[in-house]
């Protein structure tokens, strides 16, 4: 088997993933040309990735929710609620209890933010999975409830959330050297993993794919990581929220592929009856999915507070739609059973790339929405069309 035929086979197998990556590259080139290169300068690239983070936390959870055949409409406002709770604690509470202890305050805010998200996930998950109420209805109700919650916490005011430490979560950057160390560690892990997985396959007596293919893949991803660190170091360095997002995405992606929890989610979405008759506890799995989604809402809310620097009544408005759009753009089937975390990240990146590009071009917000909507529908149509062809 030649390297290229194997490569071709793999590309055909994952045609959807590659199509969407191509679309992303196309969008970048398009804006790069229109903005005479301003779009791809280090500062803009750095901001672009930073901007996608809040949506991304929601999108990677949304993938699993949609994969099980459910939906969560409350994530935007739930993240918004967490963000105003965090802002409230930062601005009014810790200050009074532990004056001057900024690190302790930020830590407590984070823990409470995560806890609020988790409790929200438990509540929604319980009602959906164990009381058998459709997720669409429960989370639609959840959206209203969270909207009310935000108003209660803020009392209509804007609450500052730009205190030290908390601020660093979304606005911090790693020093250049730390960025490079990180890059080297990632590359080392990639290489180590390649050899370890080959060794394991050999131990099991499986046929190994050509070394050149594995090496090519490893080198390709290593090059991407190095290039990324190089570019962002030209500006301020590796962005803290992007690092967080990468870690979260890796964990969720790993869970979706390599744990029973993840496998069951895909089986439930693919064929609920077959999953049930295979002995899968469907309620428990769906409950866990919403619990995870809630936790991710917590993370997104904390990053949101830090990113905006305020808790406002508009916090998280419409983010659920961005998250759903990102997941769908990334190849998640609205019917369930199909979808990847990686795809959702690319989907989120596409949405953010469009927004940023249109902003640089000074396109009116009205037209930005129109274009984003059309891109979403067009992308899914293209996908359906090409699938039919092949």
């Amino acid at each position: 088997m030649s390297m290229f035929s194997e490569l071709g086979r793999r590309i055909r197998q994952n045609i959807q993933t590659y199509t969407i990556i191509l679309a992303l590259v196309g969008i970048w080139l398009f804006f790069a040309v229109l903005t005479e290169g301003r779009y791809v300068n280090p500062q803009n690239i750095s901001n672009l990735f930073r901007q996608m983070t809040v949506t991304s936390f929601l999108a990677i959870g949304m993938v699993l929710v949609i994969v099980t055949g459910n939906i969560d409409l409350s994530v935007g406002k739930a993240a918004g609620f967490v963000s105003v709770v965090v802002a409230y604690l930062q601005a009014y509470v810790w200050h009074a209890i532990f004056p001057g202890q900024a690190l302790l305050a930020a830590t407590l805010s984070i823990l409470i933010g995560l806890a609020v998200g988790l409790v929200w996930g438990v509540l929604e998950g319980y009602v959906i999975a164990y009381l058998n109420i459709p997720a669409f209805i429960v989370t639609l109700g959840g959206l209203f409830i969270m909207r009310g919650g935000i108003l209660i916490v803020t009392q209509g005011r804007t609450i500052p959330a730009n205190q030290p430490y908390l601020k660093e979560i979304a606005q911090g950057y790693l020093p250049d050297l730390a960025g490079w160390v990180l890059a080297i560690i990632v590359v080392a892990i990639l290489v180590f993993n390649m050899f370890r997985s080959r060794q394991k396959r050999r131990d099991y007596g499986f046929e190994l794919s050509p070394f050149s293919i594995d090496l090519f893949g490893t080198l390709f991803f290593s090059a991407l990581v190095i290039a990324y660190v190089y570019i962002v170091n030209q500006y301020n360095g590796v962005q803290a929220p992007v690092l967080l997002m990468a870690i979260a995405a890796l964990i969720i992606a790993y869970m979706s592929n390599n744990t029973k929890f993840g496998r069951y989610a895909y089986a439930i979405g693919g064929n609920r009856d077959a999953a049930r008759l295979s002995g899968i506890n469907i309620r428990q799995n769906i409950f866990q999915i919403f619990l995870l989604m809630g936790l991710l809402c917590g993370v997104a809310g904390i990053v949101l507070a830090s990113y905006v620097g305020y808790g406002t009544i508009a916090a998280g408005e419409g983010y659920e739609l961005d998250a759903i759009a990102a997941a769908i753009l990334g190849g998640t089937s609205p019917l369930g059973g199909v979808g990847t975390v990686f795809g959702a990240l690319i989907g989120a990146l596409i949405m953010t790339s469009l927004t940023t590009g249109l902003q640089i071009l000074n396109v009116q917000p009205a037209w930005q929405y129109l274009l984003k909507g059309m891109v979403l529908v067009l992308a899914v149509y293209a996908d359906v069309y090409f699938k039919k062809k092949s």
């Binding site: 790993y254 999953a275 049930r276 008759l277 002995g279 059973g337």
Partner: protein, 508 residues
């Protein structure tokens, strides 16, 4: 051109990758007759129907079909076009919208309108006219879900028949009907015949051919074996044409010696999960020995599937009775519970319940067995692949590799995947609900051999089948069900088709 021939198939061949579903089939249907088509599963009947309804449009098959002397050219998936041409089809599964009225269903998709607004008076009076013309005893305003299955069938027929219907195709119309309803259907068909409607009648119930048809065509392995006037064939002759060989060859007899009783059911009663209080199982007694194949026979609706689903913990509430596994009473509340006790189920509906069709063979095989390859945190995908590969080889699953999705496999191979996934969990007891449904003859034989091997290895099997010959050919003993009761368990040596049918119909 013979004016009396309404439909003339000339050397129709339909190929699928790896299978030829129809081989140069030539059939002539005479105007105004009732023409029976019979054959085993996979003989090509449904392929023939799909060609007539445009599911396989003109150009995707070889050969030609002449309809009233003209070449029939149907566009893709054009049941509507077929209907406009006067070819109406009633499928085995009912296709009515339960919450709509009879009239709405009859005119679904062809509602009479004026300036885009539905003319309800016309719709209902037209419905009334069709119903009266063919003497169908239903009210146009009745809501479908309030009707019995027999009446639904009538609505289905009314829906299929437009005013100019020339051919009506009935695919297994009686599979869900009671005897009285079957009688009524036969009357309706006679009425239709008097109105000059030609009828193509497909069924598994051979006796119905003799009640109603004028001519019979027998299909086997995609080929037309014979077309004869019904008066010239006997039941035995028909079976011989269908099978093409003696019964013995169809079922490999294993060399097994059932041991101790391992599984017992005593006085089991269970309710319909959808309507509490309605008992579906009304007293089931059975015992199963180690390494035995116990067949369960019974008519559609006798509670066969409900029984295995109940035993697997996935049906309605058990209201009375005991289940014992290895002399210990067990209480099975869910599939996961059943699996952990060593029970497994190959469900009736392979695609709907057995497989996650869009997922790979590998993932389907490992789905109920992930606990063997994983700890709290992760799945060892190498171990998963090795075990699945071994199992797939043992069962000779024909797939280029285990990563292709199940929906690209043939029916027989899909069924092997379902069986294989359960074998990986080393079950003590395997329930098989219609394991060879929709599977071609060759794959059937392999599944039979597999069942024998399993029984020889000490797995106890409970098999349900709608194919009575299969039950008789494969089982050590046969338990016959009638209206939710277990009637009698016959030894293979004393079980004959007549005896089983007598028990199943409540005559004995």
């Amino acid at each position: 051109m013979d004016k009396n021939i309404i439909l003339d198939f000339k050397n129709v061949t339909k190929r699928f990758p790896g299978v030829t579903a129809l081989k140069e089939a030539s059939i002539q249907i005479r105007r105004g007759e009732i023409h029976g088509i019979c054959g085993e599963n996979g003989a090509g009947k449904s392929t023939l129907m799909k060609i007539l309804s445009g599911v396989y449009p003109y150009g995707t098959y070889e050969g030609e079909i002449f309809y009233n002397g003209e070449k029939l050219k149907l566009a893709n998936r054009s049941i509507r076009q077929a209907r406009d041409e006067g070819i109406a089809i009633v499928y085995q599964e009912l296709t009515l919208v339960p919450d709509m009225t009879v009239g709405e269903n009859v005119f679904l998709g062809k509602e009479p309108t004026e300036f885009g607004i539905i003319n309800w008076n016309k719709l209902y009076s037209d419905t009334q006219r069709i119903l009266e013309k063919y003497q169908l005893d239903v009210q146009p305003q009745a809501i479908i879900k309030n009707l019995g299955v027999g009446k639904m069938q009538m609505v289905e027929i009314a829906k299929a028949l437009s005013e100019n219907a020339q051919i009506l195709i009935l695919d297994e119309p009686t599979s869900a009907l009671t005897d009285a309803e079957v009688d009524k259907l036969m009357e309706i068909l006679e009425t239709l015949k008097q109105h000059g409607v030609t009828c193509i009648y497909i069924t598994h119930k051979l006796d119905e051919f003799f009640r109603i048809t004028d001519n019979i065509t027998v299909l086997r392995d995609g080929q037309v074996v014979t077309t004869k006037p019904t008066s010239d064939v006997t039941l035995e002759g028909l079976v011989k044409y269908m099978v093409g060989r003696e019964l013995k060859e169809r079922f490999p007899k294993g060399n097994r010696k059932p041991g101790e009783v391992i599984f017992e059911v005593e006085g089991l009663h269970a309710e319909d999960p959808d309507s509490a209080g309605k008992e579906v199982l009304r007293g089931i007694n059975l015992d199963l020995r180690k390494g035995e194949i116990l067949g369960i026979a019974g008519l559609m609706g006798s509670g066969r599937t409900e029984l295995v689903m109940t035993l697997f913990g996935e049906y309605g509430k058990v209201t009375a009775g005991k289940v014992r596994l290895e002399n210990e009473e067990i209480n099975i509340s869910s599939a996961s519970n059943a699996i952990s006790q060593g029970l497994s189920l190959v469900p009736e509906d392979r695609k709907g319940q057995g497989l996650v069709l869009g997922q790979s063979v590998l993932k389907n095989l490992s789905l109920p067995n992930l606990r063997f390859f994983s700890n709290m945190f992760q799945i060892d995908d190498n171990a998963e692949l090795r075990a699945s590969t071994e199992q797939a080889q043992n069962l000779a699953i024909k797939a280029p590799n285990l990563l292709i999705p199940c929906d690209s496999l043939s029916g027989g191979n899909q069924q092997k995947v379902v069986i294989a996934k359960w074998l990986m969990s080393n079950p003590k007891i395997l329930f098989m609900d219609d394991p060879t449904r929709g599977v071609d003859v060759g794959a059937k034989f392999e599944i039979y051999k597999l069942m024998n091997e399993l029984a020889e290895r000490g797995v106890s099997i409970i098999m349900i089948s709608s194919d009575l010959e299969e039950v008789l050919g494969m089982s050590d003993r046969v338990m016959v069900m009638h209206q939710g009761h277990s009637t009698q368990t016959l030894e293979a040596s004393e079980a004959t088709q007549e005896k089983v049918m007598a028990l199943a119909t409540g005559l004995a």
